[in-house]
Amino acid sequence: MQKLISNFKACFLLGILFSSGFCSAVIAASANSISVSLELLASPAPSNSSLSRLVRDEAGQVYLSWVNQDNELAQLVYSKLMDTGWSNPIVIGEGADWFINWADFPMLSVSNGNMAAHWLRISDDGAYDYDIEARFYDEKNRMWSEKRVIHTDGVSAEHGFVSMLPISEQGETNTLITWLDGRNTKAGEEYGEMTLRAGIFDSLGETLSEWEIDHRVCDCCQTSTAMTAKGPLVVYRDRSSDEIRDISMVRYSSGEWTKPRTIHDDKWQINGCPVNGPAVSAKDDQVAVAWFTAKEDTPKVQLALSSDSGDTFSEPIVIASPETNGRVDTAILKAGAIAVSWIDITEAHAKIMLSLFSSQGVLLHTSVVAKTSASRRSGFPIIESVGDSVFVTWTDVGETPQVKVARLEFELN
């Protein structure tokens, strides 16, 4: 720990907000037999960076990805967290024709040295039409593939809200990519239905399989994917014929997808887009799904748990209501505790919150991670767990936006 303080010039805080920069205080706290330290790490991302995500590989190596913007040019970049600090940033892709959006942004997936990363590129024909472009890094050949559009419809429409998950098949490390696909929105005179699709891609980026998973889903909410003992599980905001937009799940097993099933009947009926997708994390048979809902204009962040890989879910636990605008994420720690992050808008400044629950759903601890902005420019905080640590990344929206990273270390006694 001392080494990290030195290396990252970090500060420790708990229950104290920090918005930017560094501080020298070292504070630790414990509650309910939980000791927590909160550390702001030096960010490898420069000014004018945003849209960050965290991901880890099987070995626990943490990767931070983000987007740099310089006038029209956007770059997707990543850095690895080493013992000595962040590695030099590596550019995966860049372009002056990317669709840059606070809610729908690039993702990096890493497994056994292989990587996959995507971004959104505006397609030629429509101002609001964009394709999902991706590159794949093959560890055997030690090279990135050429960029390619992952969907083969050729329709100029909206494609995005991607989630990625490494998937091992027959000894090969492939990538399951799930996305919202607007090919049917352009099928008729009226704006048509958004679909949920998925594909499996090999380490060179070749499509091995592709499916339509749901023919009618909410147009602009993130998807999320996690690996359970019974196969990959995808959660998304569904859209019924009478405009109920609750969270559904599907699971992939033995080459087939289960039928969409609602996690909980919130019965949130809206003819619009919440732009607030669910998040799922899993560890063997344990699954946690966090989501935002706002029936009768009462915002709520909820958490439902499963101990059978998503065959059944608990009744939801209300984590925050009503002073929240959602933007949830979730991660499962080594010992099975569940971390959920969300944005609290109780006061003038919004706060990134993180609660830790036992595997049974008992609240263990809640931390204020950072002061943030409720504005769209602050984006969606993303969390990732390594052992009993939770890393958090977000965009600080000061004079110029900059990606921030913090780490919470939990000692579960």
Partner: protein, 133 residues
């Protein structure tokens, strides 16, 4: 179509009621309702009800105006400073339309895609009777 407003508010001749429509470039239902708001904006010009828009994404002003033009938004789009002055809670669903009283009180929050009839009915409920000639 000619629209006549009969406003039953004491202060209606002095200050405006405002229809505040949050839009975004990526929001399909927003794109559907913008032509309706354009038409209503023109129909309400002689009245004490105005329509303004807010770019939900809070892009810089020049980008916001470019997007508004691409979307065909014909009613005024508020600046970020003007939005901050209103102190509205950003909507949880897009599109969302607020109706503000002359004192900038939120008197109605209309969530999701609205029709012209939805808006006119809401105005009527507020005591703003509408006659269409």
């Amino acid at each position: 179509m000619h629209l006549t407003l009969v406003i039953n508010s004491v202060v209606a001749d002095e200050v405006d009621w405002r229809i505040v429509n949050y839009w975004s470039e990526w929001c399909a239902p927003c794109r559907v309702e913008i032509p309706m708001f354009n038409a209503l904006f023109n129909d309400l010009k002689a009245s004490n009800v105005s329509i303004v828009g807010i770019n939900f994404d809070e892009d810089p002003r020049d980008i916001t105006l470019d997007i508004a033009e691409e979307l065909g938004v014909e009613f005024p789009t508020l600046t970020i400073e003007e939005v901050e002055e209103l102190a509205l809670r950003a909507p949880d669903v897009m599109p969302t339309t607020y109706l503000l009283s002359p004192t900038n009180e939120v008197v109605a929050k209309l969530i999701g895609l609205q029709s012209r009839e939805d808006i006119l009915n809401q105005l009527a409920e507020l005591g703003i009777a509408v006659q269409i000639n």
